[in-house]
């Protein structure tokens, strides 16, 4: 019954390298759908998908919604404000009620680590993790990895450094797992107060100084620094963060080679990344966004039971 990914996509920690490659390969033909004038194929016609967002999100939610609509699925968005969720209903009751309406898939974003798995273990629908707490955000990492692969080809031996608040970042965790499975070398760089105490045990090396990270890496994935971290006392000030860890063109100019610049967004210009870097020639930030829709189409397609070898044909439909 389940396709090559199993019932759910909960994280990259539990996928094999082959499964990750399969998603990336499947995403490639789907990219083309979004370039058409009529951006719609009938692949998921008749399927009902609920986008269950317990946390504010624009980019991820819109990206999923485009992916679903371009595959002709029927979608409903449920946000935590204004729904029964804000009236104190438990996650399990919310899920059971949705399922009682006979849905096929749930895309969930939730502030608690493990929430996507919690849901997946309790309902029969396919569950896609669109970010659970500080645990994983697999589709974001998949689109980051697809973007890297578009530029580098095979990622084996490639050096990628994740910069910033790794401690609170689900994007970082998913990227670490995914990149390592594909053979890349992964490092993290940031203030130690924003790195997990046991971060090395995730299989990454640590750079304390951004200059050293830039010298080592071929690509930087720069994480958003949330204002709350400063308020919670993890760093003294955003200004100092920019001075010590900000990715600036001045710092990049000293690198022995060009670096690919990724950012999962939304950016704090002038904090973790300077505008001339974000908008510069080596930034692939908007390319990431474009890839996001294709990767999510691939995940939806594969979880719905689509055959990877027919992905190219699946997009043929309604030209």
């Amino acid at each position: 019954m389940n396709g090559p990914l199993g019932k759910d996509l909960l994280g990259l920690d539990e996928l094999t390298a082959d499964q990750i490659r399969l998603i990336l390969d499947t995403a490639v033909p789907f990219k083309e759908v979004s370039e058409r004038q009529i951006k719609k194929v009938p692949t998921l016609r008749g399927m009902t998908i609920v986008n269950l967002f317990f946390e504010a999100s624009t980019r991820t939610r819109v990206s999923f919604e485009f992916a679903e609509k371009r595959l002709s699925a029927d979608t409903v968005n449920v946000a935590s404000s204004g729904s029964s969720v804000s009236k104190g209903e438990t996650l399990v009751d919310t899920a059971r009620n949705l399922e009682a309406m006979r849905i096929d898939m749930v895309v969930i974003r939730h502030p608690a680590s493990g929430a996507a798995r919690f849901l997946a273990e309790r309902i029969d629908s396919n569950v896609i993790n669109a970010g659970d707490g500080t645990h994983e955000h697999p589709t974001q990492a998949l689109l980051d990895i697809l973007t890297l692969r578009d530029r580098f080809g095979d990622l084996a031996g490639r050096r990628v450094c994740i910069v910033g608040d790794v401690l609170h970042s689900r994007v970082a965790r998913s990227n670490i797992h995914g990149l390592r499975k594909l053979g890349a070398e992964v490092a993290v760089c940031g203030p130690r107060s924003l790195l997990p105490n046991a971060v090395e045990e995730l299989g990454v090396q640590v750079f304390d100084r951004i200059e050293a990270a830039i010298e080592w890496a071929e690509a930087l994935n720069i994480l958003r620094l949330q204002l709350e971290r400063m308020q919670a006392g993890y760093i003294p000030s955003l200004r100092e963060y920019n001075r010590v860890f900000g990715v600036t063109s001045e710092r990049l100019d000293k690198a022995p080679h060009d670096l690919l610049i990724l950012h999962p967004g939304p950016m704090n210009r002038g904090v973790e990344i300077d505008s001339d870097v974000a908008d510069g020639p080596h930034s692939v930030i908007l390319h990431q966004v474009t890839n996001g829709v294709a990767v999510r189409m691939a995940v939806l397609y594969l979880l719905a039971g689509g055959r990877p070898d027919l992905a190219d044909a699946a997009k043929g439909g309604a030209r």
């Binding site: 493990g114 659970d132 965790r173």
Partner: protein, 428 residues
């Protein structure tokens, strides 16, 4: 007049009198009448055949949460005391984090009376250290002792004011009772839901570092050293804590300590994929910590084995991990877990384990029992250390089902629990 009760032909293990013989225990009028090799059978005595079983002074768990008053939907003193008896315990000490907090003589008296009315294991009330366990004002310890309190604790919360803890140790010393501390630096532990480790890093859960416990352990040892008060360390979970307690004991500080059965048997790997039945405070720690705690028990640094029995409604545990409440039930699995992980793996001898579960709790907390000497309290535990069974939470007498041992095979189980010369539990 109740009939005499003869526990016949068991292996009597009573570390309080260095006894390890096959023989009989005769109970009369609620007390031990005699204990030793073949006593003969008094006329009309009720006889319990204990051949092949271990007969020990009644086991005492000095750290349980009965939830009454306040959360009778989750556990009552009756269901908790029944659970204790089913696990082989003849007495428990009930923590005061009830609603309202057991910080006054009326509530202490209520807990005691409910325990007596239940008629299973004895229930000794704890009183709170501070009013409302808020850590601000010393509660009325003297009155609570008059009403039956045996020790004081703000368990669930640490006493964050060093001055208040100093005063509590001094004041409780007047009455000769221990002050039991829940060691946790809340500013370090804030928001944490499991051990801080590679596992928490992977799961994206905020961790609670070992130091959150150890900072309080050393602070309280130093305060006990200064005041001469008796500090009792609740639910120790780290290697560092064991070392600090050892340091204190070597210097003659009046410090005692307990460890939970789950902390000597499970590591943080048991959290697996966010299993809320492996969520408790302090959290399950590393293999290194587990080994140090076992060693600490074996060498006497850690005095007591406890459960920290903490029932929760299943709906409350059926939550996102970070939002689920802390705690597991333990009364009905503790003996099996301790036999499986300590006795059968050679960490402790049978008599050392019995000492930590039966004799030392009585000694440390100044409770009656803890011995089978003639004339002492007629509380006896009879268990089969070799009985293999599989934990089925549905069978628990406790209202709680929240255990990390569901489906786990344990070796060792209570067969008879005798309180005041009366069988209050017999295994089927």
């Amino acid at each position: 007049m109740a009939r005499d009760l003869l526990l016949r032909g068991g292996r009597i293990v009573d570390p309080s009198q260095n006894m390890d013989v096959v023989g009989d225990v005769l109970l009369r009028d609620g007390n031990v009448e005699a204990c030793g090799a073949s006593l003969g059978t008094p006329d009309g005595a009720e006889i319990v055949d204990c051949a092949g079983l271990i007969v020990t002074p009644g086991m005492i768990d000095v750290h349980v949460h009965m939830r009454e008053p306040g959360r009778e939907d989750v556990e009552t003193i009756k269901s908790g005391a029944h659970s204790a008896a089913a696990g082989g315990f003849t007495a428990v000490c009930a923590m005061p984090n009830t609603r309202p907090v057991t910080d006054n003589q009326a509530t202490v008296g209520f807990v005691k009376r409910q325990g007596e009315a239940a008629g299973f294991a004895r229930v000794y009330p704890y009183g709170a250290i501070s009013v409302g366990s808020k850590g601000e004002t010393l509660a009325e310890m003297g009155e609570m002792i008059s009403a039956g309190a045996v020790a004081f604790s703000d368990d669930g919360y640490p006493v964050s004011s060093s001055q208040l803890m100093r005063t509590a140790l001094e004041y409780a010393r007047t009455f000769g009772v221990p002050v039991a501390e829940h060691c946790e630096d809340m500013s370090l532990a804030h928001g944490g839901s499991m051990n801080e480790s590679a596992v928490s890093a992977r799961l994206g859960l905020k961790g609670i570092p070992n130091e959150a416990e150890e900072i309080y352990v050393i602070r309280d040892i130093l305060l006990a050293k200064r005041t001469g008060g008796h500090i009792h360390m609740c639910h120790m979970s780290t290697k560092g804590s064991v070392e600090l307690i050892r340091w204190g004991k070597e210097r003659g500080v009046n410090v005692t300590a307990e460890v939970c059965s789950h902390h000597i048997s499970l590591t943080d790997e048991r959290v697996g994929q966010y299993d809320t039945n492996a969520k408790m405070n302090p959290p399950l720690r590393s293999a290194e910590d587990v080994e140090a705690l076992q060693q600490g028990l074996a060498d006497g640094t850690i005095d007591l084995l406890v459960t920290d029995h903490a029932p929760h409604h299943y709906d409350e545990k059926e939550r996102e991990f970070a939002d689920a409440p802390n705690g597991i039930v333990g009364l009905e699995t503790a003996l099996g877990v301790n036999c499986t992980w300590l006795l059968h793996r050679g960490v402790m001898s049978l008599s050392a384990m019995v000492d930590s579960m039966s004799c030392k709790p009585a000694k440390v907390f100044g409770l009656p029992g803890g011995t089978l000497r003639a004339g002492s309290l007629g509380d006896v535990t009879v268990f089969d250390p070799n009985r293999v069974w599989t934990v089925d939470p549905k069978q628990f007498k406790s209202k709680g089902r929240n255990t990390p041992y569901g489906g786990v095979q344990l070796t060792g189980q209570a067969r008879y629990t005798v309180v005041g010369g009366r069988v209050v539990f017999a295994a089927t």
